[in-house]
Symmetry: C2
Subunit: 550 residues, 2 copies
C-alpha cells in the first residue's frame, strides 16, 4: 500500500487517450511517448488494449520490453506497464502476452456494473456480472501479481452493488480498484460521495489501492478526480493534455499541478517531475495531431501569457498578485533564441540533449543538414523550431514513398497546379502534375495519382511554431482509408470494430512542402497497415509471442 | 430577488474574454457577438471596460444602443448591458457614458480585498478599501439602479473581511455581489465554503443577487462555479469557449449544460436556448482567433464524435450507454450537405437565415458570387463552409487595402516567390513581388512592401472547415504593431497600458489566398487604429458622448 500520502499517477494517454478520433499513433510514436512518460515520473503507463489488434498488442509488448525495464530517473524503479483487457480469457491472455516482459507488469480488466450497461450492452443480470468479475480477476491474478479491476460506468452504478462487486474483486486477487465515471456524468459532490462510500463500505478495501478515472464531458474531470483523492483515492488515471474519447479524460497536468500548487491543502505527493510537463505535452500534441487550445490550463499557449507584460514593466513585486505558479515549474521556457546559422554540430547536439533528445551518431548528419537548411532561411532557431524538426524527423519510422521534389503555382488566377516527384518503395522516380482547388489540394491530387491509396482527408491544420513571418509551419493531417481492407481495431467499451484513421505530421518553412510531408506520412502509415508492404522493423520479433504457461 | 431557482447567465466574453492575448475584437465584431449572445438568451452582457480606451467605450455604447433595446427572443426583455469600472469616479463616469443608452444598464465596479492585492497593488489599508467601496458603489448607484460590486481576488481574501466589505457595498446600493476567484487558485471545497459563508454572514445579502466568477488556472472553473451555485449563487460569470486571460474564464457551455443535463440534481433553470451554443461558439472562435481544442467539453470537434459509429451500426438502443446529452441539444448539426453549384439565390438565402444570418439585399450579390465561386470548385457546400464565408465576408468592416491579385510559386526548389496586387485607399493599384522562406512569408513580404505598416506575426494557423481535400481553409493570424504610436488600452486589473494586438481571418479554397486575406484584415485593423485613416463608420456618433447630468 506504500505511503498513505503518495498519489500514484496512472497515465492512459496511450490507451484511453489514443482512442480519441484521429489520435491513432504508430508503434514508434507510442514508444517515444512511453519513454517521455517514464522521464516525467509516471508510476503506471497503461500502454494500450492488446486485444484491439495485433499491432496494438505488439506496441504494448515493445513498451514493456524497452520502457518497462529501465530506471528512468535516479532512484526510481521502471514504471509499471499495464495492458487493458475486457473481462474475458481471450483479452486477459493477450494483455499478459504483451505486458509480461516488463519488470513490473499489470493487467487491468473491467466489466460494466451500471443497470443501463448491464441491460443493454452486456445483457447480463447482476449475479452473472459478479460471477464473471470473480472468475476473470482470479484468471488475471493467475498470470500476474498486479491486477487492477474497474467497474465500468461506476458513476451510474448502484453504490451497494459496487461495494459487493469490488469486495469480490478484492477476494479474487485485485490489488487496485478503479472507479470510472465513464460518461463524465457525475457532479463533484456525487463523485466524492461515491468514492468515500466505496472506501468506507467495501470489504478488504484497506488492503488495495483505490483509483479514480474521470471524463470531461461536463468539464468536471479535474475537480472530480481531486475530490476522489480527498475521499481516499491514491491512484489517478489521467492523460497528457486531457485527450481521450469525446471531451477527453482528466488532464495529468491539471491534477498534478493542483496537488503541487496547493500542497499544504492536500498534504499529498506525486513522483512527477513537473518541469517535464511542457515537453511531453508538446510531443503528445504533435504525435496525435490533437491541438491544445491557447486557454488550456497549465499547457495552453496563454496559460502564463501575462508574464511578458510583467517583466517588461519590471514589476517583479507584482508577480504573486496574478500568478499562482511559476512557468519554469512546468517547463515553460522563454523560447530562448539559442541557435543560428553559425551554430555547429556540437552546439546543436548539446541543445538537443538539453531538450531531451538523444541523437544517434548516424542520425546526426541528417538532422544537422536539416538544421542548416532552416538556419539559412531563418535568422534564429528556437527550441520550438528544434522540437518541430525532431518530431518531423522521427515521425516516419518507415517511408514507403518519399517526397523528392515539389513545385507549386497558385493564387487568385484560378488554376492552382502542383508537380510532385516521389521516390517509390523500389527506388523508382514518379513525377505527376495535378490541378486542384488550392495548392494543397493540387499537391494531394498529384500524390494520389502516384500512390493510389484512396483516402478521405478528415482534418488539416497548420500552425506556426514560433513568432515571425519566417517561422516554421507545422502541418497535421488525419486520413481515413476509403477501402475496407485495412485493419480495424476493436473498441474495448463497445466491442465494435472501428475503422482506423491515420495521422501525419510535417514541418517546413514552406507550408505546402510541410503539407506534402504530412500527407505522405499518413499515407505511408496507411500503406503499412494495408499489408501491401512489410510492416515496421520491430514486428519481426512477433514470432516470440506465445501465451506463457502458468 | 426574482425566482430562487433561476440562475442568471452573465456573459463576459466581450470583457474578460476579450482580454485574452490576441483576442482583440473590432467594434463591429463585438456588436455581432453581442447580438448572438442576446439570441442565446444571456441575461447580462458585460460588453467591455469603457475606461480602457475611447474605442472600448464606443463599442460598449454601440452595444447598449443596438442590443440593449431589442427583445431578442419572444417574451424576453432586452439583455442587461453592463460596463466594468475600477472603483474610481473616472471609470464609473465612462462606464455610465457607455451603458446609459441600454433599456437595462448596469455598472460593475470592483476593488481588491486580498491582503496581497491590497498591499502590493493598491497600497491601501483595509479601512481605506472599505471606505472607497462605500463611496464608489454609492457613486455608481447615483447613475444607475443596477450596480454590481466585486471584491477582486476574493478567493484569497479573509472571509470576515469579505462579509464586512460586501455588507457595506449592499448598504451603499449594490444590487449584485460577485465573488471572483481572480487567479483560479481555490479548490472546489474552498470555493463552496467561501460562497456559503458569504451567503450566511453578509448583512443584507438576502436582498441582492449573489454571483460567482471563476478562472481555470488549475482546471476547476466549471466545478467551482457549480459549487458556488449550490452554495446559493444565482448569477454565474462565464465566457463562450472559456476564453479569457491565462487559462481563461469559466465556460458558459459547460456550466449551462451541467445545469441542464443534471436538472433533477440542481432543480435550477437558466434562460439559455442551448441549441444556439454551437453557433455562438464558432463565431467567437472565428472572431477572436482562439481555437477550440477537439477534446473541449460540449463544443470541441470530438465532443460527440462517437455518434458516427453508433449510427453506422444501427445500434440506436446503445445511445444512452455512452451518451449523456444529445448533440442536437447544443446545436450540433450532422454537417448536412445542403447546397451545391446548382443551388440558387433563394436556397442560399433560406439556408443563411436558418443559420442565423440576416443578409441585407445589397450584400446578397457579393455573397452569392462568392458562393458560386466556391461551388464551382467544390461539389457540396456545407453549413460550416457557409459560416466560414459569412465570417470572412463580415470580418472586414473597413478595407483600407484590398487584395486584387496574388500569384505564388513555391516548393522544394527553394525560392518561394509571391506577386501581390493591392488596391490602396485612394483606389490606386500596387504590384510587388517578393521572395520568402515559404509561400506565406513571400506573400506577406510583398504585402509589407506595399502597406508599410511594420508588424510582427505572433500567430498563424490554418484549418480546414470540412472534410475532403477540396475543403475551404480558414486562416487566422495575430499581429503586433512594431511602432509604439498605436493606441494602447488600460488593463482593468493592473492599470497598465497594454499594446494592442490585431487578429485577421480569411477563408478560401487556396490557403495562400486565405493567408493573404487574413494578413490584410489584421493590417487594415492596425491601420485604422493608427489613426492614419478614418475610423469605422459608426464612430461619427461619438460627438454625442457626454457625461449625463444627474
Amino acid at each position: 500500500m506504500g505511503q498513505d500520502n503518495y498519489v500514484r499517477i496512472f497515465d492512459t494517454t496511450l490507451r484511453d487517450g489514443e482512442q480519441s478520433p484521429g489520435a491513432t499513433l504508430t508503434s514508434g510514436e507510442k514508444l517515444e511517448i512511453a519513454h517521455a512518460l517514464a522521464r516525467l515520473g509516471v508510476d503506471i503507463i497503461e500502454a494500450g488494449f492488446p486485444a484491439a489488434s495485433p499491432d496494438d498488442l505488439e506496441a504494448v509488448r515493445q513498451i514493456a520490453v524497452e520502457v518497462g525495464n529501465r530506471s528512468p530517473l535516479p532512484g526510481r524503479e521502471p514504471p509499471v506497464i499495464c495492458g487493458l483487457a475486457r473481462a474475458t480469457k481471450g483479452d486477459i491472455d493477450k494483455a499478459w502476452q504483451a505486458v509480461q516482459y516488463a519488470a513490473r507488469p499489470r493487467i487491468h480488466t473491467f466489466l460494466a456494473t451500471s443497470p443501463i450497461h448491464m441491460k443493454y450492452k452486456l445483457r447480463m443480470d447482476p449475479e452473472a456480472v459478479v460471477e464473471q468479475v470473480r472468475e476473470m480477476v482470479a484468471y488475471a491474478r493467475s498470470y500476474c501479481d498486479d491486477v487492477e479491476f474497474s467497474p465500468e460506468d461506476a458513476g451510474r452504478s448502484h453504490p451497494e452493488f459496487l461495494y459487493l462487486v469490488l469486495g469480490e474483486a478484492i477476494k479474487a486477487g485485485a490489488t487496485t480498484l478503479n472507479i470510472p465515471d465513464t460518461v463524465g456524468y457525475t457532479m463533484t459532490d456525487e463523485f466524492r460521495t461515491l468514492t468515500a462510500g466505496i472506501k468506507a463500505h467495501t470489504p478488504g478495501i484497506e488492503n488495495v489501492v483505490l483509483s479514480v478515472h474521470c471524463h470531461d464531458d461536463l468539464g468536471l474531470a479535474t475537480a472530480n478526480t481531486l475530490a476522489g483523492v480527498q475521499a481516499g483515492a491514491r491512484q489517478v488515471e489521467v492523460t497528457i493534455n486531457g485527450i481521450g474519447e469525446r471531451a477527453g479524460n482528466t488532464s495529468l497536468e491539471e491534477v498534478v499541478m493542483g496537488l503541487h500548487t496547493r500542497q499544504p491543502f492536500f498534504a499529498l505527493e506525486t513522483g512527477i517531475d513537473t518541469t517535464e510537463i511542457m515537453r511531453v505535452s508538446r510531443m503528445v500534441s504533435h504525435y496525435t495531431g490533437m491541438a491544445v487550445q491557447p486557454n488550456k490550463a497549465i499547457v495552453g499557449a496563454n496559460a502564463f501569457a501575462h508574464e511578458a507584460g510583467i517583466h517588461q514593466d519590471g514589476m517583479l513585486k507584482h508577480e504573486s498578485t496574478y500568478e499562482i505558479m511559476r512557468p519554469e515549474t512546468v517547463g515553460w521556457q522563454q523560447s530562448a533564441l539559442v541557435l543560428g546559422k553559425h551554430s555547429g554540430r556540437h552546439a546543436l547536439r548539446v541543445r538537443l540533449a538539453e531538450l531531451g533528445y538523444e541523437v544517434e551518431p548516424g542520425e546526426m548528419d541528417r538532422i544537422f543538414a536539416r538544421f542548416k537548411e532552416v538556419a539559412d532561411k531563418k535568422k534564429t532557431i528556437s527550441d520550438a523550431d528544434l522540437q518541430a524538426l525532431m518530431v518531423d524527423e522521427r515521425y516516419q519510422p518507415r517511408e514507403i514513398y518519399r517526397l523528392d521534389g515539389l513545385q507549386v503555382a497558385c493564387g487568385t488566377m484560378g488554376m492552382p497546379t502542383a508537380t510532385v516527384r516521389l521516390i517509390g518503395p523500389d527506388g523508382s522516380e514518379h513525377v505527376t502534375a495535378a490541378v486542384g482547388t488550392g495548392p494543397v489540394d493540387a499537391t494531394y491530387k498529384a500524390i494520389d495519382a502516384i500512390v493510389q491509396m484512396p483516402a478521405t482527408l478528415l482534418e488539416f491544420a497548420v500552425r506556426s511554431v514560433t513568432k515571425g513571418i519566417d517561422a516554421i509551419g507545422e502541418v497535421s493531417v488525419r486520413l481515413e482509408a476509403n477501402n475496407g481492407n485495412l485493419q480495424t481495431r476493436t473498441s474495448p467499451q463497445s466491442g465494435r470494430e472501428q475503422a482506423r484513421t491515420f495521422g501525419g505530421y510535417g514541418a517546413d518553412t514552406d507550408i505546402i512542402v510541410a503539407s506534402a510531408h504530412a500527407y505522405l506520412a499518413a499515407l505511408n502509415k496507411m500503406l503499412v497497415a494495408s499489408g501491401r508492404y512489410d510492416s515496421e522493423p520491430w514486428t519481426v520479433v512477433s514470432e516470440q509471442l506465445t501465451v506463457t504457461d502458468h
